[in-house]
């Protein structure tokens, strides 16, 4: 059986460290054996640990790393369907398939996540307003259940388990393999229109005005600007480029991604580096210098700007940070966003990586995050009690306007808050108690937000 190793783990935000017994099966057989006979009280799958909080952390329990279970098993060119183990990373899919004319149907802002992690969080991308979440593109998946059985699930077969697993944060079992519909592309480039919005109202106007013209749409938003500038943004919206959009040097090899030189953040920044003044100065600089008009940009630069710097999370220092991602329905979006931004700028704790995006209709995942409206994501450095106070204040605002928070980012919300935001929680719990009655799958987050008891 695979060997467990005691280690301290945290999410990408490096916010809280917990001791877990970590396993890294190299083959499926070892994984199945550990789930069935392992000596830990419970287990949780962990992909590449890009969820920000404690979704893939299990204090005093087992953590099953999936990264070595990363074999491609099949590709059906007639339908563009890829079949692979769930530990395959999105980077690996891009490397193998962009040159053959396929891209991911949905991608988060980093390609260093596993497919299993992407399904478990039912991730959304810059195309959510057009295409929905990644779950919509899953033909079927194989789930390892607590009994050690392999259950094939799809929207047709074991549909309730399927929609509990999509967005279910690893709590229904371990996703072993996935059949995913890829998206055909002509080039590895995006035609991007950059546009500035002077404030939040203008940004919302631009989004609601002509977002349908763009498959991809997102904005960087300055959460420190106040008064008339509140919510000033840079919109980056685009579509896949055709061969006719390319300039000569990329024209000869339209599907080839040039390798990017990677930089790495070697150390944790000392805490004083990021303070309200430096961040505000950066934001102003970024806003003023932002490009305007149309540009052809390669996939890597458009979708994964942060992936060029490994360990960029160390920028927030040793104490780590949280990412707060809230979503408001269309009716309440403006008021909710204004109050959140005001609360953040008053507390002077925000940081430069804030993102605003319009989302499309809700999907079928029981605990999936996106519903129609606007979502705002921002990084908040760990300032101890000040951060805790701010988070509670923000939670109140989100609840007041009937919004919700994203489990893949969350590190701090309470069980009451979670229950109020996710009306299908009871339905999820019913499925969970049926396929995992002993609660063999559990995480620190699941216990904190009350998805599982204790």
């Amino acid at each position: 059986m695979a060997q467990g190793v005691d280690a301290t783990l945290s999410g990408w935000g490096q916010y809280e460290q917990e001791t877990c017994s970590v396993f890294r099966p190299e083959r499926r057989r070892e994984l199945v054996e550990t789930v069935q006979n392992g000596d830990q009280p419970n287990y949780i799958a962990r992909g590449l640990g890009r969820s920000y909080g404690d979704s893939a952390v299990n204090a005093n329990g087992g953590v099953l790393l999936q990264q070595r279970l990363n074999r491609f098993t099949g590709f059906d060119p007639a339908h563009g369907v890829l079949e692979c183990e769930a530990g395959v990373s999105l980077e690996e899919i891009i490397e193998a398939f962009v040159r053959r004319g396929y891209f991911l149907p949905v991608t988060p802002g980093t390609k260093f996540v596993t497919l299993g992690g992407a399904l478990a969080a039912d991730v959304h991308g810059k195309n959510h307003h057009c295409d929905g979440t990644i779950g919509r593109f899953v033909q079927s998946l194989d789930l390892l259940t607590a009994q050690g059985e392999v259950l094939t699930c799809s929207p047709q077969q074991n549909a309730d388990v399927f929609w509990a697993t999509i967005g279910g944060m690893g709590l229904t079992g371990i996703i072993l393999s996935v059949r995913l519909r890829l998206m055909p592309i002509e080039t590895a480039y995006i035609n991007v229109d950059y546009g500035k919005a002077r404030n939040l109202d203008q940004a919302l106007e631009m989004f609601s005005g002509d977002d349908e013209r763009y498959r991809y749409s997102v904005a960087w938003i300055d959460c420190l600007a106040t008064n008339g500038d509140l919510g000033r943004s840079v919109l980056m919206r685009g579509n896949h480029a055709d061969v006719s959009d390319l300039r000569s040097e990329s024209l000869s090899r339209p599907l080839v991604l040039r390798p990017r030189r990677k930089k790495s953040m070697p150390i944790h920044f000392p805490n004083f580096v990021l303070n309200p003044y430096t961040v505000q100065a950066f934001n102003t600089f970024y806003y003023k210098r932002a490009p305007q008009g149309r540009r052809v940009v390669d996939l890597d630069s458009y979708f994964y700007p942060l992936d060029g710097v490994t360990h960029w999370n160390r920028m927030y220092g040793k104490r780590g940070f949280v990412q707060y991602q809230a979503l408001f329905g269309l009716d309440n979006a403006r008021r909710g966003l204004v109050e959140v931004i005001e609360a953040v700028s008053q507390s002077r704790q925000s940081s430069f990586l804030a993102v605003l995006k319009r989302t499309g209709p809700q999907g079928d995942g029981m605990l999936s995050f996106p519903k129609e409206g606007y979502t705002l994501a921002l990084d908040l450095p760990n300032t101890g009690q000040r951060l805790t106070d701010l988070l509670r204040r923000l939670d109140e605002i989100v609840l007041k306007y009937d919004g919700r928070l994203y489990l893949a980012k969350d590190a701090a919300m309470t069980a009451d808050t979670f229950a109020a935001m996710y009306p299908r929680l009871a339905e999820f719990k019913e499925v969970k108690s049926r396929i995992d009655p002993q609660c063999r799958f559990s995480s620190s987050q699941a216990r904190r937000v009350g998805i599982v008891d204790i």
Binding site: G4, E26, R27, F72
Partner: protein, 249 residues
């Protein structure tokens, strides 16, 4: 598949990474090992990932009497035109357990040394006669100096190093390069739990595989991977025995 390469121990962390490096360059592969299901899934992975062809051959390091048939099968798979052979299989059991149980000691010696010699004898005769091809075996820095905590494994690798030196000397006349690879720590099942996966001296299997592929291409004799192990081992080798024997290493 003419000009294909045999990877013995292809299911190992280093072996699978090597398979991916060569498959991505369009080299045909014969994947050898004892876990056929794992080999098949690796072969399928290479097909889907790189549209690259490979086949699977059963190899049990301890079944010495079948090694000849195994090697002949590989030559046949390559239609008589084998390009090279890489040995990546290996075993490292706990030193203390091996001290107490000769069966465990023998297993380490047989997997790391005797079986490698058995296959290399066959392969070297083949390549010497053809006056082409190359050989590569993955040894270890542990063979550079015996240490109290790991000397049974280390001595098998030291034996392998001496064997490869001699073989290199012999095959130089036939123009067949022989590469000795001495990895330090590599993040595979073998070291999981012994060394922290995020330790700065830990290499990923991919990094090591790229180093090995480059050294094969450049017809190198001996490489350390990652590179800094050459210097670490130089220091370790230079400590006088009188002092070394008192250190806890």
């Amino acid at each position: 598949m003419k000009n294909s390469i045999v990877i013995v121990g292809a299911t190992s962390g280093i072996g699978s990474a090597l398979a991916r490096v060569f498959a991505s360059r369009g080299v045909g592969l014969i994947l050898a090992g004892r876990d056929e299901a794992a080999l098949q899934s690796l072969s399928q992975d290479l097909l889907v990932r790189y549209e690259s062809q490979s086949c699977v051959e059963r190899f049990d390091a301890l079944a010495f009497d079948r090694h000849e048939a195994f090697f002949e099968a590989c030559v046949k798979r390559a239609e008589g035109e084998l390009a090279g052979v890489i040995l990546c299989h290996g075993a490292m059991t706990d030193q203390v357990e091996a001290q107490e149980d000769f069966e465990k000691t023998r297993l380490m010696i047989d997997v790391n040394y005797t079986s490698a010699v058995s296959v290399l004898n066959l392969a070297s005769n083949y390549f010497e006669q053809k006056r082409s091809g190359w050989l590569c075996a993955v040894s270890s820095v542990a063979g550079d100096r015996g240490r109290g905590s790991n000397y049974i494994y280390g001595s098998a690798k030291a034996g392998l190093n001496a064997y490869l030196q001699g073989l290199r000397n012999r095959l130089a006349k036939a123009g067949v390069p022989v590469l000795t690879v001495k990895p330090g720590f590599v993040d595979t099942a073998m070291t999981w739990g012994l060394v922290k996966a995020d330790s700065p001296v830990m290499a990923s299997p991919d990094q090591v595989a790229r180093d090995i592929a480059k050294a094969i291409e450049k017809k190198k004799d001996v490489i350390y991977t990652l590179w800094f192990w050459r210097w670490i081992m130089l220091i370790i080798k230079s400590i006088p025995e009188m002092i070394f024997k008192r250190l806890s290493l």
